[in-house]
Point group: C2
DNA sequence: GTCCATGCAAACGATTTGCATGCGT
DNA sequence: ACGCATGCAAATCGTTTGCATGGAC
């Protein structure tokens, strides 16, 4: 039975990165909170490690990105966000509360749909859909 | 018969913005070049108006965005880009030469497709597709 | 002992703001 | 004459870098 920290530590070591407390907590925050920006990460990290430096946050986010452990999300009117979800999915954004949720799709189905529309071989995609979530419909 | 400047000037005045030379040329550059960043705009504007200030570029880009005349494009690994195209379309990005082209779609068809997949009423979308363009296939 | 990550401070780049000037109406 | 846009400089914000320290292997 692997603890959460063991699992996150393994994730890091598998890519040749040391499993420091800073990195474990950072990964944990991203996993739990979904789509977070640098500022949010820094604030949350400081709760556990009050001495953490903002440069450590930036440096680690970049390292984890390069290692393919986290991914940057670009959505207009949002700051760059980070997520641990590597598998292909699309984002659903509520136009009112701005909450972002992941929606898993059949990657091949999406690629096929757009290949047929564009008459080009689509290799990958970034898709954000805007809607009004249940809570905001009231 | 409207000249290009008349047309761009009207676009500005219709939204309550003055049609200054800086704004007319800025709009003209975005229209001609498609997806441009601030730096590119500034360099190109200086060719015609050598005294133009970078703050004028920033301020005008923001004003035109607020007025709905130009739109910001967010794509991972790209700086924020601006386009005059307001009508809904998707972006095709070559993974090799990074050239971006617009592809016009039937908005309703796209919304219907994703509404049926997600079981939610999709109101709008931001879609970027990655592919290998003809020139780069060699 | 070596390597790498950290925290701090300084540097840097991008963007915003305040203000004096000047143009267009 | 008035209001807004401009250009400049300074201020600010976000991000990166250099470096000394310290911990893990």
């Amino acid at each position: 039975m692997l603890t959460k920290n063991d699992r996150l530590g393994k994730k890091l070591k598998d890519r040749g990165l040391k499993a420091t407390p800073q990195r474990l907590i950072l990964l944990n925050i991203i996993e739990e909170c979904g789509h977070v920006d640098i500022e949010f990460l820094y604030k949350r990290l400081k709760e556990t490690i009050p001495t953490i430096s903002i440069s450590t946050v930036y440096n680690n986010v970049k390292k984890l990105q390069d290692a393919g452990i986290i991914k940057e999300v670009s959505i207009s009117a949002f700051k760059p966000l980070y997520e641990t979800n590597i598998s292909e999915h699309i984002h659903l954004v509520c136009i009112k509360c701005r909450k972002i949720i992941d929606f898993y799709v059949d990657k091949e189905e999406i690629k096929k749909f757009f290949s047929s529309i564009t008459k080009k071989e689509i290799l990958s995609f970034e898709i954000t859909l805007f809607y009004l979530c249940e809570e905001c419909k009231d």
